[in-house]
Symmetry: C2
Subunit: 159 residues, 2 copies
Amino acid sequence: MKNEELLCLTALNSWKLVIGRFDRNLAALTDEELQKQVAPGKNRLFYLVGHLTAVHDRLFPMLGIGERLHPELDETYITNPDRALPDPLSASDLRKAWAEVNGKLMDAFERFTAADWLEKHAAVSDEDFAKDATRNRLAVVLSRTNHASFHSGQAILAK
Amino acid sequence: MKNEELLCLTALNSWKLVIGRFDRNLAALTDEELQKQVAPGKNRLFYLVGHLTAVHDRLFPMLGIGERLHPELDETYITNPDRALPDPLSASDLRKAWAEVNGKLMDAFERFTAADWLEKHAAVSDEDFAKDATRNRLAVVLSRTNHASFHSGQAILAK
């Protein structure tokens, strides 16, 4: 395997590990437990799952790999803080949305070549990308991997 | 720049972003605030800084880039949970150790070529590495980036 392919595979493994761990923790929680807050007065687990689902769903247009599946989640789980609005979907529908979004992302990522990973993402201008070629799709996915890890660290506190 | 170099630079940026953000949050905290717990009964910020410093210090032998700087932190911040043992160093010495360890790691990472990133790390056997070449130095650093993000998400709750 070429160096560039191996580097991409290593980075993709990092995303897979973080999402896989989150999947397993989520599967171990009952719908009632999803209502727990990570600490007194902080976000509920339900909110964190909604937030990560919405943020990951935004990757489809940002990486140019398709239409969004769940734009209806943004208002509740990105624009507003927890408990400002009622949850727009049931725990079971939220679990489905989470799995659907991440499953479809994984299908796309697994088909990316090194050149695909190094393409510009939609949130950077041609001019800025010409100055800094690290503002590519890989940078976005590594950033979302860290973001998911960040909230995983919080979610674990609810145990 | 070659694809393989650009991929490495993108991944290194991810580490830099996470460590840089932690640095700024740490600098904004007083020594007294470091004694705060991230949530009732959970780890103190002081413990998290000690833990991340010790875990990052272990990267020197694991990546084959030098001797450890602070092996004396393991007993308190890796082997034992928070408050089991007294802190072996002052807040100011802990801040110094954190900066020293991450500064020296960054110097090494910035000199890595793509081939260097793809070398085997010390915690995997030759046999296992032959079967799975993604068990390389990049995988370790991405894993530590996620680990630092995980605890950063907890640390932010103490605000």
